[in-house]
Amino acid sequence: MQKISMREALNQALREEMRRDMRIFIAGEDVGEYQGSFKVTQGLLEEFGQQRVLDTPISEQVIAGLGVGSAMAGLRPCIEFMTVNFMMLAMDQLVNHASKWRYMSGNILPVPAVFRAPGGGGQQLGAQHSQSLETWFVHAPGLFVMMPSTPYDAKGLLKTALRMEDPVIFLEHEGLYSLEGEVPEEEYLLPVGVGDIKRPGADVTIVSYSRMLHVSLEAARKLEGQGVDCEVIDLRCLKPMDTELVLKSVVKTGRLVCVEECWRTCGVMAEVAAQIQEFGMDYLDAPIRRVSGREVPMPYNKELEQACIPSAEQVIEAVNLTLGRKAAD
């Protein structure tokens, strides 16, 4: 086992897969000479050369189109958007094109492309640079969506993504790049659409993903001190979404708290809640609670920003609510 950062884990995944498969190339803004704006692609230009690691102009639509076209033509593009916020400029290529081409062509033109992007809030980058847009992608059929929370998951999932035959939206959290974790020396892949129990427990289920998984774990640790034993589930993949795993856990605990950084309305956890109440209502001892990002454009001021992002305290409050330990707010 090696102990490495999320950044390094992603870098290893890219490096290993590029060594394995000549069809893979990387393109994006400042991914090469600058080594990536978050340094995920550090050293790759040096190892793989200008033909396989390409700096693009600031042209998000065509960066995405480059991925769609080259994938249809048989390559395995790994496209980096500088941040998820700029994917808004490429929604048409991603959803009107990448997600539809296989189906629309009656299965003859699949689009095996990976679209990576950092995102999330907490760095005081302001409203246009602090978003969590995974929901949009999860909503659109034809896309796979992955959003890992640990170096181990990140490496295993990115390697899997790069071997898939369909478009994958791979979202990283800016606040997790420096997070360290154990990663095997030997090669491994992770299955698609399989969640992971990051902490087993018996009293309440907390489901989350990406950076909020860590906030959930923090809450679980604190709750342990209060005698509450939480099971913490990491979705890891948002599409397909392993709600089976959540359901199984709820069958055991009877209580569910959903934690997400994105905006609440029609967010990822709206889907989890809708499914679990549908298939697990008989097991629920309390309503499912959501802890989500505040529904405002993200303010710059630090305290305001922090108030917009779910905290362990909010998760604890929600858990207590489902346990009936306090009145509803």
Binding site: F25, Q51, L54, T56, P57, S59, Q61, V62, A64, G65, L66, G67, V68, G69, S70, A71, M72, A73, G74, L75, P77, D92, Q93, N96, H97, W101, R102, Y103, M104, S105, G106, N107, I108, L109, P110, P141, G142, F144, M164, E165, D166, P191, V192, G193, V194, P240, D242, E244
Partner: protein, 338 residues
């Protein structure tokens, strides 16, 4: 800029009678295919948006005369003509219009979504300008694998105003991608004339900002198209640079099947019909003594039969089974461990 269209006839002057008749045949096939499509649309056998290529046949046919099966083609939604000129089976194209299992996209795509992997035909994009962004990826793949091929990306006059046009042409030029961009200027984007949508009416000028070779051609003259495309393809291959071509053409019918066409007069259409690319080639061959009216008549009657067979094929093709609705949404991945 290259010489004006039709001036340099170095390629087409070498065309044999057989080749010329084949050009005629292809244009006529597309024409009749489209007329039949309109008829079957009126009869309710075809639905949705349906954009006919009538009047513009010389562009796709001239183009495909030059291209080989190593080359890649991508186009917009007005794609029946492109699909047929590329060599796709018109029966399967018609079956797609019918939404049947034998359709090129097994009934999933429809009029705007014709594709063929073998023939490297990538669509069939119903988003104006979308294929320009996609074409850079095709061009990149060709370059990456060092194939001896070009990518042709066709789009309309309306698409020139989309951001994808700009981003795509800049990247193609910057990265030396082997792409021939063809703007089919048929004077209108739906009901909007070029002069009401573009800051230059001369659309070849819209490509001035990309450090790219620019050419123009009379898209109503299949021989002129061949000359210009031939030069373009040779340029792209030898210089490893993209190029932009404006083809002036005209659609004789409405934008799609329900277009009152108030934005143009009958006289406008009549004027352009006089430049019919099919009649033009026929007249030219007759004038040059290369063929007689009978020859064309024979071809036309063959095509009549072919078009009947095409429709019969589509009529007989089974509908896609309902229980296979979600097939093709993804590749077959192992289900998550339970």
């Amino acid at each position: 800029m290259a010489e004006k269209d039709g001036r340099d006839l170095s390629v087409t002057s070498r065309l044999t009678r057989k080749e010329l008749l084949s050009l005629y045949r292809q244009m006529q096939l597309i024409r009749r295919f489209e007329e039949k499509t309109a008829e079957m649309y009126q009869r309710g056998r075809i639905a949705g948006f349906c954009h006919l290529y009538i009047g513009e046949e010389a562009v796709a046919v001239g183009l495909e005369h030059v291209l080989t099966n190593k080359d890649y083609v991508i186009d917009a939604y007005r794609d029946h003509g492109y699909a047929i000129a590329r060599g796709m089976d018109p029966k399967q194209v018609m079956a797609e219009l019918y939404g049947r299992s034998d359709g090129v996209a097994r009934g999933r795509g429809g009029s705007m979504h014709m594709y063929s992997r073998e023939l490297k035909f990538f669509g069939g994009d119903a988003i104006v300008g979308g294929q320009i962004a996609v074409s850079t990826g095709l061009g990149f793949a060709v370059k990456y694998r060092q194939e001896d091929a070009v990518v042709v990306c066709a789009f309309g006059d309306g698409a020139v105003n989309e951001g994808t046009f700009h981003e795509g042409l800049n990247l193609a030029s910057l990265w030396n991608l082997p792409i021939v961009f063809i703007c089919e200027n048929n004077e209108f984007g739906m009901g909007t004339a070029v002069s009401r949508a573009s800051s230059f009416v001369d659309l070849s000028k819209r490509a001035l900002g990309y450090n790219m070779r620019i050419d123009k051609v009379n898209g109503m003259d299949v021989l002129a198209v061949i000359e210009v495309i031939d030069r373009a393809v040779r340029y792209v291959k030898s210089e490893q640079r993209p190029t932009f071509i404006e083809a002036r053409t005209y659609r004789f019918r409405g934008h799609s099947m329900s277009d009152p066409q108030r934005y143009r007069t009958r006289e406008d259409v009549a004027t352009w019909r006089e430049r019919d690319p099919i009649k033009r080639l026929q007249q030219r061959m007759i004038d040059a003594g290369q063929a007689a009216e009978e020859d064309f008549k024979a071809i036309r009657s063959e095509i009549e039969q072919q078009v009947k067979d095409i429709v019969a094929f589509a009529e007989d093709s089974p509908k896609p089974p309902l229980d296979r609705l979600t097939e093709f949404a993804f590749a077959d991945y192992k289900a998550p461990d339970q």
